[in-house]
């Protein structure tokens, strides 16, 4: 028997939870079909998380691709189907990705599993990010380097801790519903060991009574704790947090059954969500909003 999971019309970090709620009661080897026929939009997080969902299953799930041409075409431009065809049994018409020419995508979905992949990602983002951050988000040209550093550190989290490969994507768009401004969004998702297991692997680590995914996220994201004893470790996420804070951005990291967020004034998300449906690995989203001109 195959269980059908329905993709919401708009797939982002919030609505992806609806998919996970449908997935949670199912055993890992249950056949599933992800029905995205009526999806109209997806954020970089939505698409990279969808790939990790497939990665987490014992059997390749089915995926019914969006019926709307512009949606399917956008997913193709983001490079989704190139990775999805390795992980899903695709049903429906898959548009061909546009070849050559200048893409409107800042960084299409890229697999990350080793250090060289991070070099590749950083190299590809630098040129496009510079013009976009300055021109469209009113962010100081000097901040471009910080953006690439943030991307680099977020990707290294996969290489250093996940234990298996993941994906990164970067896109800029107008976020009408929440903010009414343009944003640039980095999504970095993997289906690896997650923060709790990573920290548990630290030699001699003592676990407290309430040790769980939420506390592991607090330790790593807020206090900069790493599984490595080297005192220089843990600076990557701290750097990401600083960059996000400087530009009134938002950082959210989901792992296991919890999600932690650095919430800016413009958002009403909770800083810590617990008892979420369990999902392996770590899923990170960084949102940098367009800066309003000084009055």
């Amino acid at each position: 028997m195959t269980t059908v999971l329905t993709v919401p019309p708009s797939l982002d970090d919030t609505t992806f939870e609806h998919l996970l709620e449908q997935l949670a009661p199912l055993p890992a080897d249950e056949r599933i079909l992800i029905d995205a026929r009526h999806a109209r939009w997806a954020s970089p997080y939505g698409l990279t998380a969808l790939l990790t969902l497939a990665q987490s299953r014992a059997e390749p799930p089915g995926l019914a691709v969006p019926e709307a041409d512009d949606t399917a075409s956008y997913w193709a431009r983001l490079g989704f189907f190139r990775h999805a065809q390795e992980l899903f049994e695709l049903h429906g018409t898959v548009p061909k990705a546009r070849s050559g020419g200048e893409s409107d995508v800042l960084l299409e979905i890229t697999s990350v599993s080793k250090s060289e992949d991070v070099h590749e990602v950083v190299g590809r983002i630098q040129q496009k990010a510079q013009s976009m951050l300055v021109r469209e988000l009113n962010i100081d040209a000097k901040a471009t380097m910080g953006f690439a550093m943030t991307l680099s550190e977020a990707c290294q989290n996969i290489v250093e801790h996940a234990g298996r490969g993941g994906w990164v994507a970067v896109q800029a768009y107008r976020w009408t519903k929440r903010l009414g401004r343009r944003v640039v969004v980095i999504a970095v998702c993997d289906a690896g060991v997650g923060f709790r297991q990573s920290l548990e692997s630290s030699p001699g680590r003592r676990l407290g009574d309430r040790w769980d995914d939420a506390q592991a996220l607090e330790e790593a994201v807020i206090r900069g704790v790493s599984r490595f004893r080297d005192p220089g470790r843990g600076q990557g996420l701290a750097g990401v947090r600083r960059y996000v804070g400087r530009w009134e951005g938002k950082l959210s990291v989901r792992s296991g059954t919890a999600r932690i967020a650095i919430v800016p004034k413009w958002d009403d998300d909770v800083p810590l969500a617990e008892k979420l449906p369990n999902f392996p690995g770590a899923q990170m989203q960084i949102t940098i909003p367009e800066q309003l001109p000084a009055r």
Binding site: V118, H119, M145, A148, P231, G232, A238
Partner: protein, 179 residues
């Protein structure tokens, strides 16, 4: 004697990279730098970041912090560093310096040297005084600082132990003063 290490060239030996990112790359770069330092006992080495487009926190930790930790205080590995063209990368560099309570000397575009990182106010004033004076004996530096000689000598020796000043005979000089 002054040695010059061009980080961009070293990076080129580690792979087709233009950015100093990731820990493995940082460790590889540091290893090559250390090899070229083996014959530089007691000398000043200029680590030149010209042509390095970007350095992230992890790589800054591997290259800069670990280099300073290994060569910063062991008498057997006496080495002095000046970091050139590092101003573009201060965010990453200062972050790792603070994390490890380290400090270093950078050379600005106009050739002037500047102390950055974790240094107490009294140490910073002392270092600045030595720089302004172009070096000198503890007694002269103490007069300029307006402190007693014993206190000043303790500050100077502390800075010398951290390889931020060079101490030769009775004279103290800023590292990179003539770089």
């Amino acid at each position: 004697m002054i040695n010059l290490i061009n980080v961009s060239s070293v990076l080129g030996h580690c792979g087709p990279f233009t950015n100093l990112v990731t820990r493995p790359t940082g460790a590889a770069v540091r290893s090559l730098i250390e090899q070229s330092l083996s014959a530089a006992h007691g000398a000043v080495t200029v680590i030149d970041f010209s042509e390095v487009e970007m350095i992230d926190f992890s790589c800054a930790d591997e290259v800069i912090a670990k280099l300073l930790l290994r060569f910063g205080s062991e008498p057997a590995r006496e080495a002095y560093f000046v970091f050139r063209a590092a101003s573009e990368h201060l965010d990453a560099i200062e972050t790792v310096l603070e994390r490890h309570m380290l400090a270093l000397v950078i050379q600005l575009d106009d050739g002037a040297v500047q102390l950055i990182g974790a240094v107490a106010d009294a140490e910073r004033r002392c270092w600045e005084t030595v720089r302004r004076m172009g070096g000198g004996r503890a007694t002269a530096i103490a007069i300029e600082l307006g402190r007693d000689v014993q206190e000043t000598t303790a500050l100077l020796d502390g800075l010398a132990r951290r390889r931020l000043l060079m101490h030769s005979g009775e004279r103290y000089e800023t590292v990179g003063g003539g770089a």
